[in-house]
Symmetry: D3
Subunit: 157 residues, 6 copies
């Protein structure tokens, strides 16, 4: 950059704000990301509930059980965090003040959905995991409706 | 574990929910984490506004300027994300429905603070960065007040 | 765990393998995750190509331009990595040897798709970004076909 | 950038170093970040020590216990890593050679603190977790003292 | 940048592709990174197989055992993911179409190696962990051979 | 676990410490990880110094240059952080107090190496990047010597 007037300009103008013409991180928004994570939470929850500890003292069987149980809890944790993160991106970055008149319960819907993600971490709770799926579905329709689209709610599993 | 009645139990009882006795991830909550990140956002914003491109064509000077500018933008981005994340942890994990009567503007306060984090990413805007500091300060007092404490708002820089 | 025969068992049996009954990380697979990231790559590529540097020496305008350009390149980079990661999860974790007869070009399809992700990072190339979308679409149909489903290819943007 | 002499310059001058005018990543330093993580390590350690396995064979009770135990260990691990990282940032980025005369035991103080973070991961050890809090407190006073400030050591929990 | 003809240029030329002169992320490739992670997977697998649960009901002994078991499973998981990631970087970023004639089984070699990483996560399987080491060794020789070097396969442990 | 005396035990014994029999995170240590990252820092530094901005106003050429410059700075940053992290793992986790007599300058060696990582981030400085390679080499020999091995220092590039 060759700007001969630069040093003059910096002293005259209060150089306090440099505004971009684009708002937001310009990503593409899609509740599908939150949905996939929520499906994984429900899947891991069911697998954990279905696990049967060994009937005997076989050390190999116990090591296997513990290895699997540990991993499932960790994956459930990670997917619940992912779901929460994806939902919050929609709340903070996609939805704007002008949406509040159409969706007056916007904040509460997202707050509850986020708290369901926590509940699924803290417990192995299939009812909560199913509630989370319903919360994401509600948000899915709210989102597409705000864009004038009626995309169906389709799950992968 | 030796549980001889296990196989009987699993068939009789509907094994749908395993509830923990502890709620939440049991971390320690402190708005200091969000404050430190917000201070960094303001610091990087000021440094970016203070940068002067080289007056001449010196390639070394230009490479330096570009290296520094790039890095400052990246650090500002990272700290703004960190601030947003830390604030949202307080909103989703710390505050509970019973807090809504004492802090009726809870959701809106956090929503605005999160949107200020975005604004600081998208622009190099000292006014917004200072507004973010004020938003975090408001949340600081809301948080400690809810715990019956009056910790002072003290910044590191 | 009370296992009185434990110490005996460990010395008699070669304790070399503890096998789990479940295969894979048991996540839920959906090409939607790769699609969303690829859409973001294309979106950022278009925005970058549309950016106009300031016509003058205005330092604020230049700081804004550089801040935005930097951020867009970083988001394009991050989304291209995300797309590659999501595609590779499908290749390594979902597809199995038995799929090779139905999809003999499986490896090459994924290799090319991954290399398109790299090309989109290295260049600001709308043609490559559109090729990446087509690669993900091909994988979308391959994936759902392997599950006996015919889910439509629907994009968010 | 319009630099007509560029190609000449690059061939004449050995273009080996492009120096920035600013040193360090320019973040804001505050031992509060390490403190919060250390508090979480102590908190998780106490919760783990307080956990009581079920008295019976109830599979739900056992799944709950294992889910919670797993999660607490993972959070303790993550917070211990966070504490170590934050402490090391202060050691490598904030403290400079000129500080060694005032704080001759600087290196050893940080080395021991980092090793306490490891000890808290490897064991469920309340004594070590409390020692870690004391190590962070010592560093807190060393840090603020080096800045000519006397900020109090205040914990969130 | 002072470019007076800018606005004219953008309207005349189809501004669709901005090509860089460098291909790839320009990192340095070395199978050592995958080797170190695979060594850790084998190490953790052996430690897990060597663990002996307490012979009695001592709660402290049980908490210790569970803390250690959990951590080892988590480290095994993390290292297996790391090994997979490092291997896939070589496959997608280093190897090119021109390598296929010399290494016709390239894709299958990497696919199998990635699936071995998964197997080591899902099971505590020393045979699979040793197979993974052999897979990484095969790739080590394929890689260095493609560069006209004959670096020895040397392990850290 | 069936432990009928559990409730009695917890009240009699001060249940404060659950000690593991294994020390450290049990990973495999190898300075190769730090070496690969340091090689990448040097590589990116050289590429950045070799970049030539376009001679003209061509917007495509400028977008390409900026995209590449940005990416190289980001990769240099990431690799410098990686190098620092890998070095610090050796300092905090591998080296023990008993090593201080053999390597009295241990702390200072690592402190300087970490500060070189920072210098390579802050500047585009080939001399510092080469110094970093030498620091890692010194640590390589210190490490293998402490294990009674004499592994050669071999670089990938």
């Amino acid at each position: 950059m060759l700007r001969s007037a630069f040093s003059v300009i910096t002293k005259i103008l209060p150089v306090r704000t440099a505004k971009a013409h684009c708002d937001g991180p310009c990503g593409v928004y899609d509740p599908a990301s939150a949905r996939v994570a929520a499906e994984a939470v429900l899947s891991m929850t069911k697998k954990l509930l279905a696990m049967e500890p060994p009937q005997n003292s076989d050390p190999i069987a116990w090591a296997t059980y513990n290895n699997t149980f540990s991993r499932y809890v960790a994956i459930k944790e990670e997917q619940a965090k992912e779901a929460k993160q994806e939902l919050l991106i929609l709340w903070t970055d996609y939805f704007k003040p002008e949406h509040l008149s159409t969706y007056p319960d916007l904040h509460d819907t997202f707050w509850k959905a986020a708290k369901l993600c926590s509940a699924c971490k803290v417990n192995i709770d299939q009812a909560k995991a199913e509630e989370l799926m319903q919360a994401v579905e509600k948000i899915h329709y709210m989102f597409w409706n705000s864009k004038g689209r009626a995309d169906n709610w389709i799950t992968a599993s």
